[in-house]
Amino acid sequence: MKRKHTTELLTHIPLIALGVCFALPFFWLISTSLKPDAQIFRIPPVWIPHPMRWSNYPRAMRYIPFALYTWNTLRICLFCVIGTTLSCSLVAYSLARLKWRWRNWIFYSLLATMLLPGQVTMIPTFIIFKWLGWIGTPLPLIIPSFFGNAFSIFLLRQFFMTLPQELSDAARMDGCSDWGIYWRILMPLSKPALATVGLFTFIGSWNDFLGPLLYLNDERTYTLSLGLQMFVGQHGAEWAMLMAASTVMTLPIVILFFFTQKTFIQGIAMTGMKG
């Protein structure tokens, strides 16, 4: 009994120490965001600002068109979630449930793509979108999601493989088409996997920086990532406002994570399984 207590203590001590290390940057973020200017540069540091200056938040959000950028970002995220879940589940169905000649080739193309650095395709893809006249619009950030991506197709394929084949066979006996099996049987059963893909896609789009940097050159179409980076350039020393703006950008992701923790953790575990 005593031994058990000691080992538990031995685990708790490093956990608490590491927990403090991981939490401290977040604490510093929020603390700085609420400081009056005079307290930001004070040494020894002010840990808990007094008084708390909540007005840093509305001030930061007035400096850049926050509502517009949030809307721009959300719109891209939403289309990407729809595009990715739809296109990737279709392809995953053909890989997990259909036997056809080119299936393995498609599968290899997915695996190879995962090792391909984005830099290799970046320039020609940019040229394609330039030729289409889409630079300065969010289209280059949205349209590719309707053509699938290797990671999500792989994840959905792994999930479809776990569903019993008898389901499809029985439906086929009853005269159900492949589309019917996909749409009415597999998709409703795959909500957890679809939710995982949707979540990762949403967060990926929300956090994306290189994409908007390449394609959005009109301030009215900026996303939060790009808007925030511009803010650094213009107001480099205004740390309280920078921290307030960063907090506001991070908050939706934190909230989303808290509500969907289980889906998240399972999804990540699923991606590791392919190793």
Partner: protein, 297 residues
């Protein structure tokens, strides 16, 4: 009838895969070939590309000093950052696998930094790493360090600073390890205990072999990630001071979209492609020696 059925199955497969077939052709296959072609051209994205043979490659190797600097910066991140990152995420996972109270809370805390928007975390760490009034140096001087490093302002400390920041987001790998650790059958540990194995031996001879496929997965993912390390450097240092954080992907981006030398940038992209493939190949080859697949003899 059977052959007719086969044919229709063929078409259904192609139809369902169509999004990827089109996507792969337009956004992967064509760009790969086009960038290979551009890499042998002088190209500014306005006038049509103009064939120059190996000149881009020769110039990169012989005249672009920043090319070598950026490559060595990136290799530095892989040599020092990647092992630290892997060890941190595995260490966190092992701690969390000890069935202590409050796991969910710790897991959330360790995981959150890895999904924090990169722009936000970069701005936060610029502030934390501030040499005069940043959190880290405040703590260090409290601990009695007389001259704490200048971090992002010091060429010698800028890369370690970025590695430190990347360790903060080691939680992504941790969750993958944790899932693998929880899959290790309890009976194996019991059997090892019966044979008189201590905690360290169990870790070495039971845990590590069983999670080795997941370690391989994290090595490959980490390798690819560090080869393409870009956003943090772009926002926090823009390559400085003295090019100490001018990483390969950043230099490539600047050659392409600042100098409009798409040809040279494409050559850089192809070199990156080959180096990544080579590194992955080396890891896969050596992995035969240390990765254990259950069900294989």
């Amino acid at each position: 009838m059977p052959s007719h059925r086969r044919k229709s199955a063929e078409w259904v497969g192609i139809l369902f895969s169509l999004p990827w077939i089109i996507g792969f052709t337009v956004f992967i296959a064509y760009p790969i070939l086009a960038s290979l072609y551009f890499s042998f051209c002088s190209y500014d994205a306005i006038r049509p590309p103009h064939w120059v043979g190996w000149r881009n490659y020769v110039e990169l190797f012989t005249q672009d000093d920043v090319f070598w600097k950026s490559l060595s910066n990136t290799v530095y991140m892989i040599v020092f950052g990647l092992p630290l990152m892997l060890a941190t995420s595995l260490g966190l996972a092992i701690l969390l696998n000890q069935k202590v109270k409050g796991i969910a809370l710790y897991r959330t805390l360790f995981y959150l930094p890895s999904i924090t928007p990169v722009v936000a975390s970069s701005i936060l760490w610029m502030w934390i790493l501030n040499p005069d009034i940043g959190l880290i140096n405040i703590v260090l001087s409290r601990l009695g360090v007389a001259h704490p490093p200048g971090w992002l302002t010091d060429p010698a400390w800028a890369k370690p600073a970025l590695i430190l920041m990347s360790l903060w987001s080691a939680g992504g790998g941790m969750v993958i390890y944790l899932a693998a650790l929880q899959d290790v059958p309890e009976t194996l540990y019991e059997a090892a205990s019966l044979d008189g194995a201590g905690a360290w031996h169990k870790f070495l001879h039971v845990t590590l072999p069983l999670i080795s496929p997941v370690i391989l997965f994290n090595v490959i993912i980490g390798l690819i990630g560090f080869f393409q390390y870009f956003t943090q450097a772009y926002i926090m240092t823009n390559g400085g001071p003295e090019d100490s954080t001018n990483f390969y992907a950043l230099h490539l981006f600047n050659r392409a979209f600042l100098d409009f030398q798409m040809g040279a940038a494409s050559a850089m992209a192809w070199i990156l492609f080959l180096v990544t493939l080579l590194a992955a190949l080396v890891v896969f080859k050596t992995s035969a020696r240390w990765v254990y697949y259950a069900g294989e003899k």
